[in-house]
Each structure stands twice: as C-alpha cells, then as structure tokens.
Symmetry: none
Subunit: 497 residues, 2 copies
C-alpha cells in the first residue's frame, strides 16, 4: 500500500529530525561558541538530506497513488498533512534550504554575541541576508499558493492564518488596550503596593521551585528536563521535551513564570497522540495553538487567585519576601502593568502591543516597504507611540533591549510574532470554555492539582495533533472560531473587575 | 574529478555523524530515561542512512575512477582511508549488521541489569549469541583481508595490529610485571604512608580543579567542555570535544586523574589536521594511538614529580588533606600499587595484567578453543595466577566484579582490550622521546605549562590524523616501532628508582 510506504518515509524523517532537535537544544544549552561553524554545517546537511528525502519523486507518486488507498479518520488526515509537507518542501530547491539553514543559524549565533555587545552594525548585514532569503521563500510560496508573500509566511506558522484575519483581530484589540492601559495604570497606582525585596533569590531555590511547579502541572520528567539557556524555549522531541529558563538572582518572578510558560508548551508536546508521533498528523498544530498552550498555563491558570494561593506558601518557604504576605499581595506582583522595553518580560496588557509593532514592521520588511536599516528608527517610533518610551541612550539606540532583543528575525522567523498574541486570545477562549464545562479546571488548581484542566486540554486539543486546523480545533472545543472578545472580557475582569 | 566527488560524500557523512556524536553525548549526560526508545530509533536510522550512503555503488565506482586522479600526499592517503572505509562497510551484508546491532544492543542492555544482580546464568546465552556473530564477522573479514580471524578484529581497532605483535610484546612485559610487582609492594609497604582524609571533597571544588588543570594542559574551551556522566568518556566532534567525569565526594583522586585522562584524548581530537577534519584521513588513528594520548597525560606527564609539585598547592588551596604535605606524599597517593579485582580502578603496574588475561581469553573465544561457559573458571585461574586473588564468594563466583565487570564483550568489542595496554607502552615511548628532544616537555610542567609537550605531540602525532599507520607514527616520531622496553624502563625508574 502506498500509504504504508509513505508512513515509513515520514517515520525515517521523524527519526532524523530527532537528532536535529537534540542538536538544536545542545547548541542553546551546552555548545561552546567555537563549535558554531561545524554545527551549522551539520544542521545544514541534515536539512538538505531530509529535504531530498521528502521531495523524492517517489514520494510524489506514492502520494498520488495513496488517494486510492481508501483511508479514513486519522490516516486520511495524516495523508493530507503529508501532502502539505511534500508541497511545501518541493516548492523550495534543496540548495536553497541548505543555504537558508546555514545563514539563519549563523545569524542567530551572531545575534547571541552581538546583542550582548549592543552591536547593530555587525548584526545588520547578517540580518539583511536572512531577510533576503525570507523574501525569496515568501515569493515562491506566495506564487504557488496564490497568497500574498507575508500571508504565505504566516501560513507556514499556522495553516490558514492570514493578515486579513490578524488585521481584524489586532484592529479590535489595539485600541481597546491603548484605551485601557492608562486606566489600569491609574487604578494600580492607587491600589497596588510596591515591593522592594532586599534579598538574593538563589538559582538553586528558583530551580527547585520551578521543578516543583512543573511536577504539579503534570510535566513528565521521564520524558523531558529543565535547563538554562540565554533565551528560554521549549525544544527537543515529544518523547524528550527540553524546556529552558534563565535565572536572575535579583528577583524570582520571571524565571518561575517562564518555567510555567514553557511547561505549557511541553504539556502539549508530551500529550500529542502517541500512536502518530512519528507521522505528520501527530505533530503539534501551528504556533498559534502551541502558544495558546503555554499561555493558558502562564496567563490563565497560573495568574489566577487559585494558583497564587497555592504558590504563596512555596515562595515563603524559600524567601522572606518582606511585605508580601497575602494572595492579594502576590497578585499585585503578578498583575502589575508597566510599559517596558522587553517583550518577554512584558505584562499581559502591554505584551500584545510589543507583538503588534513587530507585526507592523515585519509586514513592511517582507513587502520591501522598509529595509533592515530602517528598523531601529521604526522601533523607536513605535516605542514612543505605544509606550511613551525611548530606546535612545546617550545619543545612540539601546539595540540590545530594542530591536535586537528577540532571536526571531535572526533565525528567519518572519510571520511568527503574531501567533503569540493570537495564542493569548485562543488561551482566554479555551480557558473560559474549560471552566464552563468543568469548574474543577480552575478550582482544583488551588491545591496544585491540574488534572481536570489537563484532561480537558488533552481531549479537546493536545491529543488531536494536526488532525484539525486551528480554527476547527477552536470551533469544536469552544463553539466559535478565534474571537478576541474572550480575551478582552478576561482582561477587563482581571484588571478592572 | 572522482576524488572531489568522494570528498563531498565523505564530508556529508562527517556532518551527519556530527549529529550522532552529539546525540550520543546528550544521551550519556542529559537524556531522561524515558527517551531511550525514541533515541535508539533515531540513532538506528542515522546508522542505516549513513551505511546506505557509503555503500552506494557510485562510491565504489568513484573509488576505482579516482585511482587515475594522480593524487599525492594527504589526498593519496585520504583516498586509501576512503577505500578502507568503503571496504569495511560493504564487507558485511546489511542484514548481518542489523542483526548484530540488535543482538549486541540487547546484550549490553542485559549486562547493565544482570551485572548488578551477579546473574551469569542469564547473561551467558546472550553473550554466546554475541560471540557467534563476532566470530562470523571475524571470518568474513579474515577471508577478505587474508588475516586470521582474531587479527581481523584487532585490525578493526588499530589498522595493522596483529596477535603476533601483541604476543611478542605481552610475552616480554608479563613476566617483567609478575616479577616486579611483589618487589614494589614490599618497597611501598616499608616506605609509603597511608592517608585517611576525614573531609568532604565537594563537587564544586573538584570541578573547578578539573577545569583549571584542563586549561593548563591546553584544552580549548571554545571547542569543548567538561560534563558529568556515569561512565567517563571523551566524545563529541573535533570542533566540539565533550569530556566527562564522575565525582565522589569521599575522595578527589579519581575524578582529577579521570579528567586528565580524557583531556589527553581531547587534545588529540582538538589538534587533528584542521584542513582534513571532515575527511577520513583527518580522523584520529585507531584506539592504540588514541589511548597513548590519554595515557601520556595521565600516566607520563601528570604522575611526574614535576606535575605533583604543580598540583599540590592547588589541592591545598581547596582541601585540608591531613598528612599530605609534600610532593613525595602526593606521589605516594598516586603511585600506590594494589592488586585488585576491577580493571578501571587498577594502578599502572597491575593494569596491563588485567588486559593480558582478557586478551588471552578473547583470543581463545574467537578461535573456539574456549566457550563462553568456560570464562568464569578461566577468570578465576588468571586472577589467582596474576594477583593471588580469588573471585569466589560463598562458594560461587563474584561475576559482577569478575568476568562481568566490563561492557566490551557484551557490545561485541572483541579485539579492543589490548589497545589499552599497548597505548600505555606507546605513551612511555613517545614521552621518553619528547623529553629527549626537548627537556622542556617535562620540566615546564612544574609550572603548569604544557606548551613544549603539546608542540611535540602536535607535530609528531596529533596533526597527522590517519595519514600514517600506528607503526609509522611511532617509528617516525621515536626512531623505532612499538617497543615495550620504554614502558619497562619507565616503570622500573618510577617504582624502584
């Protein structure tokens, strides 16, 4: 049967990509700097080999022949995922893919060094090369799928997502937030305590707390682990999910919330459909859905009053936390809104604005309305408009905490950013429905028990892999497609309620 | 040019094997247990893909055609290394390789459990299957290369090595050691202090010392790192050499000497010929030469009086070490001889005897003069003869610390053991010559300066890769082929001098 042969090929690809995923984690967590060239070449070769495998003409023939294989259910969905992968891969010549892998890996590696040195000058040409390849890729895909170039990139991160959709949603949420934030700031100014913890938050203590919370959320330590990297991420493979965080001994909040965020991603990976892990249909849906899973933990479940009441004694076991004594106090810490420079440290209200400015910029980069050289100025102007902040320091830009703060563009991830905020909206929608169907989804979290929530998410989302589109998953789980109203209701209730 | 095409193929193989090497390190250092199945599948797929690549018929054709390419120097040597790899890969039918992989992996897996349970009965049949396949492999190779079966296996670990050679060398060294050891024991009994350090050797302190010594030896931390694993090893790739150790807070000696040993291996890898790293000729020579590089550091350079005088203040900075106050004291600790059961814990004098008994046994196993069932009795009789020790405990053998202590036979590594002791002898020979040519090779070690020694080793050995055989390397570097007299002179001077 042609389908069975295809399954073998995709299983082989899965196994080879396992090695690439682990090497990627190793690069971020373990690898010494001097190994970068050799690693980039190795990853480039892997991309080339796997690209050659998937674009082999026999795969195309088998895909055609498999249409007669009378498949249904998971297998039918798997075949259509296979087709999509084949199509996406055959579009790009393998030399292009190898070159792109090498150039983006190199740029991401440069970024790690140069961000540290605030060196935009050296970074700019590397990023320009990456952008050129991204535009080339976008154009090829756009022509084939009959999409605009930027839509073709969006579609690569979440199948079916479009600027039209994103523009509509962001167009609703942006004025809502810009209107809301000053009100919330004023309210918090009056009602919120500020804290000044004069103590050292040791890495050991933060790590032990992170591991403890991961265990409560349900992370399977037989199939994953927690490490440290410069930029936190969730990587590895479903059978071995590697999440990372970074520690700052001046405070405990961002590492803990970072761990919770990545644990949300990890729970998705660890609960993908076991029987189809090595097949395209068993892979996670796109980044919008993936991000909904990190944010449903970080923003919905673990910034709830239920979770803060569970967390507080664990914090007080470890640290003095002068002045922080009640659930309300902890909530003040975690719900504090403050316009700031760094996306990953942003609060729930300002975060979407960080995304929207990146979205606006990258759309223009791909359409060539803007060049890489224009980024710092555009960045400054958005920061002023959205947050009233300047990225200038002593006459020059602070690139490190400005337009060089994220690795996404360096690794060629244009079209990726919007999925973060759309994921936040999907998370609000999913959590609202989960609570409605089973109030335990929220209430048991007060005891550090995530069983009800996990069970709902496993059934309605994680176990589905890629068998449905993001819109189908949301519609089947909640009764409506992605609707920012849930997010706005949630925000209003949490910050003004 | 056919040769250029071959270079591309071998470079691709190198890049793919990079990922396998890193995944192997990850498995030993980082991987959670539950990931084992997925990782095994991934590694199996990589082996299959690379085996298919190297045995592709076009490679055979190109190798023939490349004979007309008029190559010389490194390229000629590279072509002959390529041929050897191609031949070795094509000799064994892929069904045989698959079966052998499955059976040896299973036996090594069983060994891990059964050694712990001292269960020889269950282990024996598994080892019998492994031996049968090893004999089959030896026969196939023997027929092709016109060697005896055991020589064919030896040749797989160090090209050109033969039993005739090993028998001659071991035949000289064995009586020498058996004669010498009682004299040394008696001398040490009279002259050596014994130590009882009543303190905790923290992992942090041991690690910082290990890193400091690695730096002095010349380890390039931009291209490698030190981690922890259950069994110490040197892995990774020449551009990113990963060495590991294990820490025991009851003592400091074995982790430090372990680090020095693996650093010796690493220095070889890090100083292979840069322009040929991705080609077979740029790979390290066989296990004999590799082991000479770990032992020249561990046994020659770093058990010298020069090194102990350099090391002592570093130890005293960290620990009290009651009673250990002089260079002589430290030497007593590091040169203490004690016949014992466990090869990996053995001292410099008894270690070769551990190897010789394994060598005698495995030769007879491959020639069918002995069966797996005969091993425990043979083991007992060698232990009695060489060390005056019995492996019997309460009427039965202590297999765990006897013939089941090593994984080598379980993973089918017949022919591997002799390279350990031959490596020790090569190390003595190389070090004697290095000192003779430049006395700084030893004297500057007193200041923690390994530059002269590294420079000599780089020029005479490390930078040569696989461009010469082990015998050519030794002859060109020292003026004679492998000669155990250097080892015996070194031992006599160190232990009776």
């Amino acid at each position: 049967m042609s389908y069975e042969k295809l399954k073998e090929t995709f299983s082989t690809l899965y196994n080879l990509n396992h090695l690439g995923s682990i090497a990627y984690v190793d690069q971020a967590v373990m690898m010494p700097v001097g190994a970068n060239d050799a690693r980039s070449k190795a990853m480039g070769t892997l991309s080339k080999i796997t690209h050659e495998m998937i674009t082999d003409s026999t795969v195309g023939e088998q895909l055609k022949a498999a249409e007669d294989d009378d498949l249904s259910g998971w297998d039918a969905a798997n075949l259509s995922c296979m087709k999509r992968r084949y199509e996406a891969a055959t579009l790009l010549p393998s030399d292009f893919v190898a070159k792109q892998t090498e150039i983006t890996m190199n740029c991401e590696h440069l970024w790690r060094q140069l961000r540290h040195e605030n060196d935009w000058k050296q970074f700019q040409p590397a990023l320009e090369s990456v952008l050129e390849l991204a535009i080339e890729e976008a154009d090829i895909k756009a022509q084939h799928y009959g999409l605009s170039p930027y839509n073709a990139l969006l579609d690569g991160y979440e199948e079916g997502l479009s600027t039209e959709r994103v523009d509509t949603i962001f167009g609703t949420v942006k004025p809502f937030l810009i209107d809301l934030i000053p009100t919330v700031l004023e309210k918090q100014e009056k009602e919120f305590k500020s804290f000044d913890f004069d103590e050292v938050f040791s890495i050991e203590d933060q790590k032990s707390l992170g591991l403890e919370i991961m265990g409560h959320i349900g992370f399977d330590f037989d199939h994953g682990r927690l490490d440290v990297s410069h930029h936190p991420f969730c990587g590895g493979v479903p059978e071995d999910v590697r999440i990372t965080t970074r520690y700052n001994t001046d405070e405990f909040g961002s590492s803990i919330m970072g761990v919770i965020h990545e644990t949300g991603h990890a729970m998705y990976e660890q609960n993908l459909p076991k029987d189809y892990l090595d097949q395209p249909v068993g892979h996670p849906r796109g980044m919008l859905i993936h991000e909904s899973q990190s944010l449903i933990m970080e923003m919905q479940a673990c910034r709830s009053r239920e979770f803060t009441s569970f967390l507080l004694p664990k914090l007080k076991e470890r640290w003095t936390l002068k002045g922080l004594d009640t659930d309300e106090d902890l909530e003040m810490l975690y719900l504090k809104v403050k316009p700031s420079y760094i996306r990953v440290d942003a609060d729930e209200l300002t975060y979407p604005l960080h995304i929207m400015m990146r979205y606006e910029i990258e759309k223009k980069l791909i359409s060539r309305e803007m060049t890489v050289a224009d980024i710092p100025e555009a960045w400054e102007s958005y920061m002023q408009e959205f947050f009233g902040l300047s990225t200038k320091k002593n006459g020059d830009y602070d690139y490190a905490d400005g337009c060089m703060q994220d690795p996404h563009w360096a690794f060629g991830g244009f079209g990726y950013f919007p999925t973060y905020s759309l994921g936040a909206m999907a998370a609000a929608q999913l959590f609202a429905k989960a609570k409605e169907e089973n109030s335990d989804c929220l209430s048991t979290i007060a005891n550090g028990d995530f069983i009800a929530l996990n069970s709902w998410l496993n059934k309605n989302l994680r176990n589905l892999g890629s068998s449905k589109t993001y819109d189908e998953i949301l519609t089947d789980a909640t009764g409506s497609d992605l609707d920012p109203q849930y997010f706005m209701t949630h925000i209003t209730k949490r910050y003004l309620g």
